[in-house]
């Protein structure tokens, strides 16, 4: 299973294995990684699974659709590399990705 490293704003790293086809949000919630809330359970309706994807990994994460781009309006400190991680599915290519978390989700 691909290894995903969730990095808190403090620098604390959480390395977990996430099954292919699951989303980065599910991986964080299932492993109780703090800092990703996922209030709506993956419906792309809440903006509480906001993360930053480093440039070198972006091509493997796909492009955000219009709904995701719109909902990102509600996230805190959105940058060009912001994503809602309930919309990013885990694949072999994401093995080793460092997912950076924002300061807050609300």
């Amino acid at each position: 299973m691909p290894k995903i490293i969730y990095v808190e704003i403090s620098g604390t790293e959480h390395e977990v294995e996430v099954a292919i086809g699951r989303t980065l949000m599910e991986g964080a919630i299932n492993h109780m990684v703090p800092g990703i809330e996922g209030d709506c359970g993956g419906l792309c309706a809440c903006a509480t699974c906001h993360v930053y994807i480093p440039e070198e990994w972006q091509e493997f994460c796909g492009e955000p659709d219009e709904l995701e781009r719109n909902i990102l309006d509600f996230a805190f400190d959105v940058q060009d590399n912001s994503r809602l991680c309930c919309q990013v599915k885990v694949s072999d290519e994401l093995d080793g990705i460092r997912v950076l978390m924002p300061d807050r989700q609300y």
Binding site: M32, E37, C40, C46, D73, F76, Y106
Partner: protein
């Protein structure tokens, strides 16, 4: 305005929900009493204002209020409206979170937004707090340093954390539904089942396991692991779930064994030395004394809680002589406690004879150069001749 219309306006004004009506560009044209109460702004100052006066755009969030009012009015997605909230601000500058309901109302060629705002600030903060508290306890159990497992009323495992996996070698998938006996050596199973039954019937909610001796667990490989464990009862519905918090104490046991061996080796040297040796603390109190030194004292003399000079090394009954000898030894100990090595040669007249001795006081210091112990050593010179 007809009677019914004026009644309707009254109704909206006194509606117990905060309600405002804006033009589609966001200009407020109606602001009810609850909206005034909730926001701290009064009706007169808000009429004609833009809605962003109470729902300001933030530099750290990109939400454009009017765009979202349009979206929600066109497509009132219940999930989004449930989870998304707008950041608002009260007149006093206090930040609030508002859940929004909006519909579009068309009157001839004009369209308006009818907006209901519910202040969910406290509710949201409480939910987040509760969730975080839950996350902390879940994390402690799931990835903490102790192995945690739970068993159902049939003694089958129904919870298994990461450390349990590491300790016993079974993955969660392999162990869930299996009997707890799988983790116990065969000879210990009946006694374990019995003690669980006793515990399930008694009044205490939790207890430390192993009062009747060491607990041994069985690794998947068949290896025996010394354990320390405590057990907790929880009723879920009417099902009794018992959870154990387990710690591998192999390393601690090994360390204890090494320590004991080391102590035995030092004891062998200390007790079998020909020289009389006593270990003192920095103020001269006797901590340890070896057999050779013990032999120099009267048989019935206790050395507990005594300073070196208070022991009857001297057989003389002359109290003046004795006091002098005691004082001289005391002064030597004080010297040693200041870090000086003291060596003297003297004649010791004890109850068991007269000895010519070579006597030393050797201070032992710690890393900060403070004297922590003094070693008193006496060698009988006569015997060496």
């Amino acid at each position: 305005m007809s009677f019914v219309e004026s009644q309707a306006v009254q109704l909206l004004t006194y509606l117990p929900e905060a309600l405002l009506i804006t033009t589609t560009s966001g200009e407020i044209i109606f602001f009810n009493n609850s909206a005034a109460e909730q926001s701290g702004f009064n009706k007169e100052e808000m009429l004609g204002e833009h809605v962003s006066h109470m729902l300001p755009e933030s530099s750290r969030r990109k939400v454009d209020v009017v765009t979202w009012l349009n979206r929600w009015a066109d497509n009132p997605d219940p999930e989004q409206l449930r989870y998304l909230s707008l950041a608002g601000v009260r007149k006093n500058g206090e930040e609030r979170r508002y859940q929004v309901r909006v519909s579009r109302f068309v009157d001839g060629s004009e369209a308006y937004f009818v907006i209901v705002l519910r202040d969910i600030t406290e509710e949201q903060a409480q939910t987040a707090e509760l969730r975080h508290a839950q996350l902390i306890s879940n994390r402690i159990i799931a990835i903490g340093e102790d192995a945690v497992l739970s068993i159902d009323p049939d003694l089958n495992i129904c919870f298994w954390n990461q450390k349990a996996e590491q300790l016993f070698g079974y993955s969660e998938k392999e162990i869930i539904g299996q009997s707890i006996n799988l983790l116990l050596p065969e000879g210990a199973r009946d006694a374990h089942t019995e003690s669980i039954q006793v515990f399930s019937g008694d009044k205490s909610p939790s207890k430390f396991m192993g009062e009747r001796g060491e607990i041994i667990g069985l690794h998947k490989s068949g290896a025996r692991i010394p354990l320390e464990a405590s057990i907790t009862k929880t009723f879920i519905g009417n099902r009794l779930i018992m959870s154990a918090q387990i710690r591998d104490i192999s390393e601690r046991k090994q360390a204890q064994k090494s320590l004991e061996e080391r102590e035995a080796r030092f004891g062998a040297v200390f007790d079998h030395a020909v020289e009389a040796i006593a270990l003192l603390n920095a103020s001269g109190l006797v901590l340890e004394i070896n057999s050779a030194a013990r032999e120099m004292l009267p048989l019935d003399e206790s050395v507990n809680d005594k300073h070196l000079w208070e022991l009857t090394w001297w057989g003389s009954t002359d109290s003046t002589e004795r006091a002098e000898a005691e004082k001289s030894l005391h002064d030597n100990v004080v010297d040693a406690s200041k870090g000086r090595t003291v060596r003297t040669r003297s004649e010791l007249v004890t109850s068991r004879g007269t000895h010519e001795i070579d006597f030393s006081l050797i201070p032992v210091t710690n890393e900060s150069d403070e004297v922590i112990y003094i070693i008193a050593e006496a060698r009988k010179l006569i015997e060496q001749l």
